[in-house]
């Protein structure tokens, strides 16, 4: 339940009771002050805002093109490659922004204008952005996984179809010879025809060989494509681990900053204790010296 109005009325009454206060001035003082937008308030927030805008765009891009990416079609591969390269570039740009933001934060930290908690807050901002980028990259990786599965399945099908083809050219070679043997029975003046038929058979053979070569080259290409796919998957996982490593680093920094706020308090307590002890120590030393002096005087008096 919103009780802001009741609060403002009470504050207004408290102001009104002060001397020299007009109702208008009281109104102005009680009204909520609008803060300027975050990016105008500090360099860290501005840099963070720019990064956030970029990551939001990347996310919108991924959602928009998810359907295109997963669709099957004739030139879907080129489309997919295009999308992937764009995403890769965007992620690199976002990461560069985040590194810039981190360096800005470190500058502010070195400048010692902010306290320990303020620094922890800024590291928190960086961590939030990195986690957001990680989530977007992970969602895109899921699309990629689906694609790889399809590509592998297609390669599997192609492999299954490829071996049956090479046996067919020999079959075609077998065919002309029965035709050749039937033509032999027709007549002797068809020796020229025989030669022609033999030449045809040769042509067929060469055709068959050419087909075999073509198919073997296809097989090579498929194998190369597979290798590339494996490379791509390795790269993308490297990618993800990089982003993750960055997030881990930032999380560490953040945790350190939060730790240091706690250490600050315990450090204060320890300092107070040390000061007290030192005071006590010097007090005891003073007493000891005092007693020693008096004992010396007493001994001297005893002797003399």
């Amino acid at each position: 339940m919103d009780v802001s109005d009741a609060f403002r009325e009470a504050a207004h009454r408290a102001y009104a009771s002060q001397s020299g206060m007009t109702p208008d001035r009281a109104d102005a003082l009680v009204a909520p002050r609008d803060m300027p937008p975050p990016s105008a308030r500090s360099p860290v927030l501005k840099s963070a805002h720019d990064t956030l805008v970029l990551v939001r765009e990347l996310r919108a891009f991924v959602t928009r093109h998810r359907a295109d990416y997963l669709r099957e079609g004739k030139d879907s591969d080129t489309v997919r490659d295009g999308i992937e390269s764009e995403v890769r570039l965007s992620v690199k740009a976002c990461q560069a922004h985040i590194t810039m933001l981190k360096s800005t934060v470190q500058e502010v930290e070195a400048g010692k204008t902010e306290g320990v908690q303020g620094v922890a807050h800024m590291h928190g901002v960086v961590l939030i952005l990195t986690e957001f980028l990680q989530r977007v990259a992970a969602s895109f990786d899921q699309c990629r996984e689906v694609r790889f599965k399809k590509v592998l399945a297609a390669a599997e099908h192609r492999r299954r179809r490829a071996p049956p083809r090479p046996p067919t050219p020999p079959r075609r070679n077998v065919e002309p010879t029965p035709a050749a043997s039937t033509t032999e029975t027709i007549g002797d003046e068809s020796s020229i025809d025989q030669q022609q038929r033999q030449a045809q058979a040769q042509v067929h053979e060469t055709e068959g060989d050419a087909l075999v070569d073509e198919l073997t080259t296809l097989v090579e290409q498929v194998r190369k494509a597979e290798g590339q796919v494996a490379e791509l998957s390795a790269l993308s996982s490297l990618f993800a681990t990089h982003v993750q490593a960055q997030a881990a680093q930032i999380e560490q920094l953040y945790a350190q900053a939060v730790e240091s706020t706690r250490n600050l308090e315990s450090g204060n307590v320890q300092l107070k204790k040390t000061i007290k002890r030192r005071g006590e120590g010097s007090f005891i030393v003073g007493i000891v010296l005092f007693i020693a002096t008096f004992s010396l005087l007493f001994l001297d008096w005893l002797q003399g």
Binding site: M1, D2, V3, S4, A6, F7, R8, A10, A11, R13, A14, Y15, Q18, L29, V30, A31, P32, R33, M35, P37, P38, S39, R41, S42, L45, H49, L52, V55, R56, R59, A60, E114, G115, V116, Q117, G118, A120, H121, G124, V125, I128, F132, V136, E145, F148, K149, L152, A153, A155, E156, R159, V219, R223, E226, V229, A230, S233, V258, L264, E265
Partner: protein
């Protein structure tokens, strides 16, 4: 429509973390203008407990919270960031916030109080802000009405320590009792406000429960009459009318006192969730286990585990008996090992020269990599529950908890064996002093009247055995005294147990503990079913904030008795402390598990019913015994 108490509280907290804007825009969506993305969260200890089960610390970052700080700790100024405060409305907190204003710590303040801020404190807050010239920096002040802790989907607690002592102390001043009652009312108002529904309140007559019911009804009535209240979405059907439609949607709130069933709070449990809570001291769904027996590696081996609704094993097995849980863990472990072996077999590379093999290998690799994260999650859960079960087993063996459980079940079912009880009480090395005290109190309660009554010699022997084992017999003294004063109290409890005896054949030793429905669950079920011949419906008071103002607590015509409709949703609330054993028994009502009681009407409500369980705090047996002991010492035992 189930009572989604926890989800609604979560939504309220999310709204608050997003600065109470009318529409929450997630961090990823584009907006026309730039809004505040990052904020600081400042909480006091109580509100930290409220938030912890709902939003984990790393989830806070998803809402843009960069840092969370305690109100009472030393804080430094942080520039350029709004601060969200979430605190209880106490004078101390208001003073601290005024000090923050004076120190100029943050640029903007969004103040959220966990329940309603009284007028004088609001004035103090305003005065403090005016003195520091910071009234303009206060962007919003909200009363969130979330002053309770949602432990699970259907279990909540008000986190009010020592409520039982405050409510039952004979030496307490009236003002103290009234304060305790007011606290309970505040907590229950928060629950109703979060649900957005005005419940019908049923409670036993005469006693703290009726006081709570009357005050709560009055406050609810004030809120309902006020325009634009939080209850406006309840289909307000006009002043004074109780049309059937609106009543069907309205839940009933059954308020019980702890004295209604003391045994349930003292009993040793044998099912998983109550065991973990009682033996391993679960707090806010977190369990700390110290591995290793020596003190040296105790610090190194301390691990904490979260037990929440997102853990599938916990959800499935929280109500199972302990031996079955151990079996389940083993079964899951075996299934996991098989899955891992499969993955390994797939990924072991065959002959790389053959094309077909390479393709299939790559495919297998891809599927293996895809299934790895899921397997990792499963392994984490299995590890967690294995460790918890091992720790439980260690405690059970050391303390002989199975013997205690068996004896207590026998006592409560009416088959007490005095020699066995005395034997266990006098045995050294079986159970902590608190365990013995609990057994002794249950024995004393079940043998306090009738033909089984304990003779003074028996009572002496009992106390002697307790003192010998180092237990504090003050608690026992208090219970016995209470039994003599309120004879009806324990009679009532005995009558209920008598009912269960008629349903279960005598002489049959029930091996399963869950056959016996606890008193609170039985009463709630009877109230929900609204049967004409059930004792509860006739004897319990009826308070309805939406009806015309009445103070006698009698139900209107047609609400109970012949032809009255059953209630599908109920909240069972125990003043003075509850535990997971009772919660489990109450939860069984919703599942349609009739047990020994129930009637014809219970059958048709099976799937639609939902029951929530709440208490002023969730107590382990040892803690409750300590409170009884404190009361005993106050009354001079």
């Amino acid at each position: 429509m189930a009572l989604q108490l926890r989800k609604r509280q979560q939504d309220a907290i999310h709204r608050m973390l997003n600065l109470n804007v009318t529409r929450i825009v997630p961090i990823g969506e584009r907006e026309a203008e730039e809004t505040e993305v990052y904020k600081i969260l400042v909480m006091d200890r109580h509100c930290f407990d409220v938030i912890t089960p709902l939003v984990r610390v790393n989830e806070l970052r998803r809402h843009g919270v960069t840092l969370h700080l305690r109100l009472d700790n030393e804080r430094q100024p942080i520039h350029d960031v709004p601060a969200v405060y979430f605190v209880r409305p106490t004078a101390h907190n208001v003073a601290r916030i005024s000090a923050d204003f004076a120190a100029g710590l943050y640029e903007a303040y969004h103040l959220n109080f966990s329940s309603s801020l009284p007028r004088p404190m609001l004035e103090d807050l305003a005065a403090g802000s005016v003195k520091a010239n910071a009234a303009g920096k206060v962007a919003k002040v909200f009363d969130q009405y979330v002053d309770f802790v949602s432990l699970a989907e259907d279990i909540f607690s008000l986190a009010q320590k020592d409520a039982y002592v405050a409510l039952n102390d004979p030496t307490a001043k009236d003002a103290d009792v009234e304060t305790a009652v007011a606290e309970v009312v505040k907590g229950l108002l928060s629950v109703c406000a979060t649900l957005g529904r005005v419940p019908i309140i049923r409670c036993p007559r005469g006693g703290a429960a009726e006081m709570v019911a009357q005050q709560l009804t009055k406050q609810l009535r004030d809120h309902v009459d006020a325009r634009g209240s939080m209850f406006s979405d309840d289909g307000y059907a006009g002043a004074g009318s109780l049309s059937l439609g609106s009543r069907e949607e309205r839940p009933i709130l059954c308020i019980f006192e702890r004295n209604f069933d003391l045994a349930a709070a003292l009993q040793h449990a044998w099912t998983y969730a109550p065991l973990v809570h009682d033996v391993l001291d679960m707090r806010l769904n977190r369990v700390d286990i110290t591995q290793g027996s020596s003190a040296l590696d105790a610090a190194a081996g301390k691990k904490s585990y979260d037990l929440e609704d997102n853990d599938p094993f916990w959800r499935a097995n929280a109500d199972s008996q302990f031996p079955k849980v151990a079996e389940e863990v083993e079964a899951q472990l075996a299934a996991y090992k098989k899955a891992i072996a499969e993955v390994n077999a797939q990924t072991s590379l065959g002959d790389p020269s053959s094309d077909a093999d390479m393709a299939t290998n790559t495919q297998k690799l891809v599927s293996a990599v895809a299934s790895l994260p899921e397997l990792q999650e499963r392994k984490k859960f299995i590890d967690k529950h294995t460790n918890i079960a091992t720790a439980l087993l260690g405690h059970i063996k050391n303390r002989g908890l199975d013997e205690y459980f068996a004896l207590e079940e026998d006592l409560l079912a009416g088959k007490g064996d005095k020699t066995a009880v005395m034997g266990l009480l006098q045995a050294t090395g079986r159970g902590t002093p608190e365990d013995k005290l609990r057994l002794a109190i249950i024995y004393a309660m079940t043998h306090s009247s009738g033909d089984d009554a304990m003779s003074p010699a028996d009572a002496e022997a009992l106390e002697g055995a307790l003192r010998a084992s180092g237990a504090d017999a003050a608690a026992l003294g208090f219970v016995q005294r209470m039994a003599k004063l309120n004879h009806n109290l324990l009679d009532y409890a005995e009558r209920l147990y008598g009912q269960s005896l008629s349903a279960v054949a005598k002489g049959v030793k029930s091996l399963l503990a869950s056959d016996r429905q606890l008193a609170v669950a039985r009463a709630t079920e009877a109230l929900m079913s609204n049967e004409p011949d059930s004792r509860e419906c006739a004897e319990y008071a009826w308070y309805d904030a939406k009806a015309k103002a009445t103070s006698d607590g009698n139900p209107p015509v047609g609400a109970v008795g012949e032809g009255a409709p059953a209630h599908d949703h109920a909240i069972a609330f125990v003043m003075g402390g509850g535990n997971y054993l009772e919660a489990e028994s109450v939860r069984a009502i919703a599942k349609g598990d009739d047990g020994a009681g129930g009637g014809g009407r219970a059958g048709d409500g099976g799937g639609r019913r939902s029951v929530a369980y709440g208490a002023t705090e969730m107590l382990t047996g040892a803690e409750f015994v300590a409170q009884l002991g404190a009361l005993g010492r106050k009354t001079g035992h």
